[in-house]
């Protein structure tokens, strides 16, 4: 649900980072926050447990500059990845314009990735949305760890449709902005297509 303010000449888009617990969603936002000049971003709001697990959401407002005379603002959200927070996860998807699925590359997380991706499809369906109809990219995170699946294996299980995919090490920032740019690009293409 792109939000266009004709008076302030602003467009606002909502991007949601989805994925299993501990896959690195919050770390993506934290890196973007750290590397963006303060004039181009607002506060990062994290509703987290005492052990830094996301409880409800993280929120980071970003300003990306102008397009056709409109200021573009992106509102980045993460969901809580732990399975039992499903009700909250569903709520965050409301009004989504683009999705990033962050997969954990570790072999031990293969099932968790697949379950989370299924869960994303189910929760989107509640809003009448389908993953292959919305701007959507996938990130294979934690490429720095020793026992990880190959990109081919990850692709076979998580990305059969071949959406844009990125290898990342969110903890040092590798691939983080590439992922964000790719989803932002798709959101603008969608805006263009819908002739808003």
């Amino acid at each position: 649900m792109t939000f266009i303010n004709l008076m302030a000449r602003e467009i606002n888009c909502k991007i949601v980072y989805y994925g299993p617990g501990l896959c690195g969603k919050t770390t993506n936002l934290q890196f973007i926050f750290d590397k963006t000049k303060p004039t181009s971003r607002g506060k990062m709001v994290s509703l987290a447990t005492e052990t830094d697990r996301t409880l409800f959401f993280d929120f980071l407002p970003l300003e990306l500059g102008e397009i056709r005379g409109f200021k573009t603002r992106f509102h980045l959200y993460t969901v809580p990845g732990q399975v039992f927070y499903d009700a909250s996860r569903k709520l965050i998807l409301k009004g989504i314009d683009g999705a990033v699925f962050v997969a954990d590359s570790q072999i031990a997380r293969a099932d968790a990735n697949e379950e989370s991706l299924d869960n994303l499809r189910v929760n989107l369906a509640e809003y009448g949305l389908a993953l292959d109809k919305i701007p959507y990219v996938i990130q294979y995170n934690k490429r720095d760890l020793p026992s990880v699946m190959s990109v081919e294996e990850l692709r076979a299980s998580l990305n059969p449709d071949g959406v844009p995919e990125f290898e990342a090490v969110a903890s040092d920032g590798t691939g983080v902005f590439e992922t964000l740019k790719a989803v932002a690009r798709l959101v603008f293409l969608e805006l263009k297509k819908s002739g808003a």
Binding site: G42, P61, E190
Partner: protein
Amino acid sequence: MVNPHTVMYEAELNRIQTSVSALVQAANAKCVFVVDKNGQFIASSGEVENMDATSLASLTAGNIAATGGMAKLLRENEFTTQFHEGKNAHIYIQLVGNRVILVVIFDAKSSLGLVRLRVRKTSDELVEIFEQMAKKSAEPGGGSAFAEITDEDIDNLFND
């Protein structure tokens, strides 16, 4: 297509502004915010200089979404009002027309009773304005500037 876009027009934004400014006066409030259910800031009035409107909008929407979720569990339609009492500042949250959220922040200079009374009138006004806006939004050509976006425009966004 993802979702229909929400387009905010100048005429309606001006009416919203007038309406919330009147509410600040009538309710003796510190400030008033209007945000949409998806967490987008729409308008504000009063002493807002030191308020982080963007964060407030996102948290309010999260709060309404969470209570909406609870309402569902209880097979209630929606909890339309919330009140949080602090030591000095209080916050009154009203869901308007199931579409937007009105947030009133006030202190000892006002009272819950007065705020509740004044919010009623503003809600009615807002319902009417947003219905008007939704009709306009549904017409084609809302922000047709974007039909001409080029790849280059998009690349330029990230070049700084």
